[in-house]
Symmetry: C2
Subunit: 333 residues, 2 copies
């Protein structure tokens, strides 16, 4: 039998466990060109929630469907010469133990020591941190790198890569507990709580040589404050603007573009695909740093298919540190 998590009812307001139910179905059978895959690790993302609100860049999830997900899977049975049993693939699938997928919709992955790393340090999070910091921010050893959302899945790697390159790494996060974790567990030189009324003063003290690269995940008021601390010819890596996404009346930093003119700054946006040609370099560098112990892999893994609903609900409430995923089955030996 095959367990699936079904969307019982589409949420109108807040998502709750009652919107899901765990059901048993017959084992699916692959047709020509298809494969039967076993789910190993499912990625849990804020975007999952938006799929329940209607069609986005992909098909909407409907009531009665198994919940959609991006996952790492093992091929169990293949009716395609593109894939063989035992292959590890990344694919769009559903919250289930097993599923049938078209072989063309599966990307075969390299073998690594721990599969979860393909969703964190060697996945989108680590590659975004690497390409954004190195390709766009271009820090030089000795420079100061500041990063917001420093306890997030991208920000936590940005600071660690900066340290590994010989830069001073300073984080910004929400609340004293997260800040302590960024300092103590991830090894940043400092981490500042943006909710603290003394934030601006603390920022100056933490960056006595000014800021050379600001890796910005949030935009808004924090960006405005940071711009005053940027050094001449500094770089702002524009990775996200979380603070503005949910606002009815977004406010622009009042010192833009003035500070860009006066300090000759560069602000630049990017997406990780822009640097696909450099992915090989990124993975090699990240693997070396992990092997040398210079980068600590941090992941937020929830065990068990049955816990996927609460893992998603918790993520939407911001209770994760690092990349959240659900382990459905152990890594194959």
């Amino acid at each position: 039998m095959n367990r699936q998590v079904i969307v019982q009812e589409l949420p109108k307001g807040e998502l709750t466990p009652d919107h899901f139910s765990l059901q048993e179905r017959d084992m699916p059978v692959p047709g020509e060109g298809e494969v039967l895959v076993r789910t190993l690790l499912m990625s849990i993302d804020a975007a999952n929630r938006s799929w329940m609100q209607g069609p986005t860049y992909r098909e909407a999830v409907k009531a009665g469907d198994a919940m959609h997900t991006y996952a790492l899977c093992e091929v169990m049975e293949s009716r395609s010469d593109r894939l063989a049993p035992g292959d590890i693939v990344a694919t769009e699938t559903v919250w289930a133990d097993y599923a049938v997928r078209p072989a063309r919709g599966c990307e075969k992955l390299p073998s690594v020591s721990s599969l979860s790393h393909l969703m964190s340090v060697y996945g989108i999070a680590g590659k975004t941190a690497f390409h954004g910091l190195i390709g766009v921010g271009q820090p030089v050893p000795g420079e100061t790198v500041l990063v917001s959302a420093a306890a997030g899945s991208v920000g936590g790697y940005v600071g660690q890569i900066a340290k590994a390159m010989g830069c001073r790494a300073v984080g910004i996060a929400g609340g004293p507990e997260k800040c302590a974790w960024v300092r103590d567990e991830l090894g940043f030189d400092d981490c500042l709580d943006y909710r603290d009324p003394g934030f601006f003063k603390a920022l100056r003290a933490a960056c006595p040589q000014g800021v050379d690269v600001y890796f910005d995940n949030v935009g808004g008021e924090i960006l405005e404050k940071v711009l005053f601390q940027m050094n001449e010819r500094g770089r702002v890596v524009c990775c996200g603007a979380i603070s503005q996404y949910d606002s009815a009346a977004p406010t622009g930093p009042r010192n833009l573009p003035g500070m860009v003119v006066v300090k000759r700054l560069r602000m630049e946006g990017f997406i990780v695909m822009d640097f696909a040609r450099e992915d090989g370099n990124a993975l090699r560098a990240l693997q070396n740093w992990v092997a040398e112990g210079k980068i600590k892999v941090f992941e937020d893994v929830v065990e068990g298919l049955e816990n996927a609903p609460s893992a998603l609900i918790g993520l939407l409430n911001g209770d994760n540190k690092g990349k959240r995923m659900v382990r459905v089955a152990p890594d194959p030996a």
Copy 2:
């Protein structure tokens, strides 16, 4: 005898002709290491006014002083082996027919067919346009280049250089008369009046392929509107933020940094000195384009030392088109 324009009284509010008086003084005599120079062309800049308000990056002008200026001069008599009579130099001097200057404070200039060009197309204005557009904006033939303050001394060259490179050049200026001049005299493909209530719609129509490079001299609301029209991977050359300089409550574009993230834009500030190593290339390219008739030199030359006060007052009221200067004596043969 030597005519000088003296600052009779420092202005408290608006500058008027009564703040100046034309006086005759004895011809000055150079000492060891000094030269006697004859003023040919004086640069008239908004910054001149700020020198009357107290010390800035330079000494303040006081009541009773001859008004300070940047000028091109001819060496008449030299007591330094650095310079010889007949040399053309750029120097800080005063509003006068003649002055004595330290030879070390004079920069010897190459000979060109028309000296005024060293203050416009081959001076700060032309070099700022060239380095900002080419070094920072990096347009490719066929792309659309948009520039604000298009009737200004920098903006007018930006659009002409863009055209010479095979780009579509669209300007933004204040009022229908200036816009017509930018189109008809400078040869831009189009020029839009930002005061027109239909400005945003006109902008979309004038840039049917979107905007690839925006050369921004103004910041503020115009920047906000332009950002919506930028193409993915577009570049914003941040040269100035005129609209914000005089404002008690500056407002930031509300779509920053959101648009930079979503469209993967690059916004970058610069000053002309950052590209000093490329000045030789800039001058060679500009001279070729002028010789080929692809770039039209436009200057705003006021004749006569006695008209310097009204030239400055008019500039502060925005009645110039292109680089304003005062001709005190004709170019030497």
